[in-house]
């Protein structure tokens, strides 16, 4: 197990290295012109450009340039020349917001999807199943910026049931934190609920016909125990994998729309604004940040998978 984890982590470093090389090339090498000018913001003065060129080593050879750039990214030593704010600080400020949004939404969509998927499978072919299927499809079809805007407008602005955007630190007031996040969580979770409950339903229906479920029944176990310990446990393995990957993807950029609609000021929204202004340092940093989370969650999923399915561990 220890070796498995160690090897997985080494693999993770390789992937991150590859991503960093690609990112470097995309931002610094492929576009024509002087990278220092592109980076320097609106109407820079000549000395400013010169300073940037020197600081980033754009006169050095490409390997040194890569090393300098990555050193800046990793140590959080980046400054946005548009806003004059340190990029590391901004990401640090946005991270708890993005993680709060992603984590809460992930828990919500997983919980609801298990309920929907299991119930759908038990009632397969009957009215409840068909009803939930339609609900799921509607959920999958609604874009988050649309449903988010509707919720914000009607539930937040018109009815005033929920705060109209904004964010409260968890450490300040956990209840208020959750209260402010309910709408964003729901908006983000709806798509995943539809998708996950469809996948879970079909997994459960496959598992229910397995021989070992018949064995469980022949043992005299109750229906609830059969469902939870034998059917659900086996049906959940692929879903948990999916869950980890989607969580990583949401943290690494999937929440951009939700954060923007609800003005949460998370990392995603920060990235979106930076892209809008062609502000290179934050874009560079948030790209690496996204890659890091996606790769990290991939590795965690593999490790958790080995725990959930004992047959994997041999490798």
């Amino acid at each position: 197990m220890g070796r498995f984890i160690a090897r997985r982590l080494v693999q993770m470093l390789f992937v991150l290295f590859a991503v960093s090389v690609l990112t470097f090339f995309i931002f610094n090498v492929i576009p024509n012109g002087d990278p220092a000018v592109r980076m320097a913001g609106k109407q820079p003065t000549e000395p400013q450009i010169e300073a940037i060129r020197k600081e980033w080593g754009f006169d050095d050879n490409i390997f040194v340039q890569y090393a300098t750039t990555m050193k800046k990214v990793v140590t959080g030593d980046l400054i946005s020349y548009f806003t004059q704010l340190p990029v590391g600080e901004e990401i640090k400020k946005g991270l708890p917001r993005t993680l709060s949004l992603a984590f809460g939404a992930a828990v919500l969509w997983m919980f609801v999807a298990i309920c929907f998927g299991l119930y759908s499978a038990i009632k397969a072919g009957r009215f409840a199943d068909r009803f939930l299927t339609i609900i799921s499809l509607i959920g999958i079809s609604m874009p988050v910026f649309w449903i988010g805007a509707l919720m914000n407008h009607y539930l937040g602005f018109k009815l005033g049931w929920f705060p109209n955007g904004g964010y409260v630190e968890f450490t300040d007031d956990p209840l208020d934190w959750a209260y402010h996040l309910i709408l964003p969580w729901t908006a983000l979770a709806i798509l995943f609920i539809g998708f996950y409950s469809r996948v879970l339903r079909s997994n459960v229906l496959d598992t229910i016909n397995e021989d070992f479920v018949r064995t469980a029944r022949a043992k005299g176990l109750g229906e609830r125990q059969i469902m939870v310990k034998h059917v659900l446990r086996n049906s959940m393995i692929p879903i948990v994998t999916l869950w980890g990957l989607d969580f990583g993807a949401v943290v690494g950029g999937g929440a951009i729309l939700t954060e923007t609609v609800f003005d949460l000021q998370g990392v995603g929204q920060y990235a979106a604004e930076a892209v809008g202004q062609l502000d290179v340092p934050p874009v560079l940093a948030t790209t690496m940040f996204a890659a890091f989370f996606i790769v990290l969650l991939n590795a965690i999923v593999d490790i958790v998978y080995a725990y959930l399915d004992p047959r994997i561990r041999l490798q």
Binding site: D211, F212, T215, G220, E223, Q225, K229, P310, R311
Partner: protein
Amino acid sequence: MSTPPSGEPLLTVDDLQVSFATEEGVVHAVEGVSLSVGAGEIVAIVGESGSGKSVTAMTVMGLTRSPNAHFEGTAHYKGTELIGASEDQLRRVRGAEIAMIFQDPMTSLNPVMKIGDQIVEQIQEHEALPDQQARERAVELLEKVGIPRARERVTNYPFEFSGGMRQRVMIALALSCNPSVLIADEPTTALDVTIQAQILQRMRELRDETGAAIILVTHDLGVVADIADRIAVMYSGRIVEEGTLDEIFYDPQHPYTWGLLGSIARVDRPRPERLPAIPGMPPSLSDRPEGCHFRPRCPHEFSKCAEVPPLEARVEGSPAHRDRCWLTPDEKREKREVETGQIGLEHKPAAEPA
């Protein structure tokens, strides 16, 4: 040869009928099967695929219940009627009183649960036993069915066992609450021949130790010859012949039984060029012939076969030997001695080398 069956039957199936509604119409899987098994007795249900033998066995356990299934008849176990029983009543019987071993040990155990936990789960379902004692019992059971280093292996997962070992685990699981009746549905079909013999040997020993009744469902008469006290031969949803092991093997009455017996490769007889086979295919379950179901494949068919022959004793002096064939016992004895390669049991003496 084996412990004699003691008086009262433990489990009595009476006129069981099972049908399933499918897209192609109603399928009558079982058409009026009656069967009983007493303590310490091993009864074999023999038949080919689709004969209804597994459905009969699983219906007794309530494992064929579904919205599309329709049941008639009764199955009594110690005063409980199982066919119409509620799911809660059945749960108390399943695993504790009547236990089942399935055909495919590779898929019959939960792949992500330790085998010890799977056994403990069953024990604790039926008995209020603390974890430690239940685990101790699981180890004992695994030792009893012949799993080496049982104490270590109790924490292994099913994928860490071979097929034969998994079937032993299944047997340990089935025995964990000392059931009075053990239903084994093709327990050796998925195993190779040496393992088959070991598993059967183990089942017979366990019967001797615990006095449990065993219903053995199989398509393999070779398996039956080793272990069964009584045999019921099923064909196309009906029992066509039943009797003791000796009655079936030495004086088979139904042409289908002759066919089954004739198609076994034997070492104590001269070997024919080709093993005889029963011509034709079993009838489709949804479209069976009128009268005797074996009629289209039977070389001895005559006019009376259009009527369903009742299952009754026809051989004088053997009241328990019953069959569904209109021929008289004398006609049968004459007809079953045929040329090598034809349907029948005895080969003419001429075929034997000097």
